[in-house]
Symmetry: C2
Subunit: 138 residues, 2 copies
Amino acid sequence: MIPNIEDVLKRNRLSVTDSRREILELFLKSENALAHHDIESGTSEKYDRVTVYRTLQVFMEKGIIHIIPTSDNSVKYALCKDNCEEGHHHDDHVHFRCISCGVTSCLEDVQVPLIRLPRGFKIQQTEVIISGICKACG
Amino acid sequence: MIPNIEDVLKRNRLSVTDSRREILELFLKSENALAHHDIESGTSEKYDRVTVYRTLQVFMEKGIIHIIPTSDNSVKYALCKDNCEEGHHHDDHVHFRCISCGVTSCLEDVQVPLIRLPRGFKIQQTEVIISGICKACG
DNA sequence: GTAACTGCAAAATATTTGCATCCTT
DNA sequence: AAGGATGCAAATATTTTGCAGTTAC
C-alpha cells in the first residue's frame, strides 16, 4: 500500500510543494534506487537541477530516503521504507546491484549480518552491497 | 614486508615511470585508503591531475588497487593486497570508515560473510562497509 | 625506433552558492 | 504577512578527451 504522499511530507514537517510531491511519488512508485538523472527525467514537470539536489538533500536529512554506496562514483537514492512507515530509521537491509541491467535495489527481506570487529572498533552502521545478476536478467 | 615496486609494475606488464612508481609507493606505505586528492598532494613530484586519473585507472584494470564504495560520493582507492602478492584478485575483506577522523581502511582480517539471497539472484561480489569509530579515535 | 606515457588545453559533467521571486502556511 | 522553496545565473569541483612532445624498453 502506497502511503499518502502529503502525509509523509507533513509528518516530516516539510511544506508540500509540487517538486517534493512528485519526486517523493517517483520514489514510492519505483522498485529500484534512483540516480539524480533518473529523477530529473522521471518527473512530468521539469524541475531545475538545483531543486532536485535540494529536495534530495532535505529528504535525506529527514530520513525519507537514503544513499546507497556505490563503487562507480555514481550516487543512488532509495526510500527508507521503515522510516516512511514509522518515523524510525533502520536501514538494515542488503543492497543489490545487477551488473547486467545496472539496476540497484534494496532487498528488504535480506538482513545485514552482524559482523564482529577487533577490539577497539565501535560499529555504527554496516552496509552491504552485493553485485551480480538479478532475477530478471538471470 | 613491502614488495619491490618495480617488480609489481613489471609483473603487471606496466612500464616503469616516475608517476607510477611514486603513486604505487604511496599506496604501499599507506595504511589507509586514498582519495584522488590524497594522491595528488601526497607525491613529492606534482603530477598532472590527468596523469593521476590515468594511473589509477591502469592500476584498477590490473587489479593492483580497488575502489572502496562510499555513500558520500567520494572515491577512495586501496591496495589489493592479495593481488600484489600473487596476481589473483580476491577482495573479500571488510572496509571500515571512521566517522570521526574520516579515515577509510581495509580490515584484511575480517572476512565478508556469505549472504544468501532469494532464488534467482547470482552473486558475483559482496562488499561490506562498516562505519563507526576506529581504534585510534575510540 | 616504436609504442606507450605524460602534460597541457579544453570539453563535458557534476555539485554548490547567492539572490530575486514566488508559493505555502 | 513571513518564512521557506524555487529558478536562474554563475562559481566551483570532478572527470574525460585530444593531441603534441617525451620517455621507457
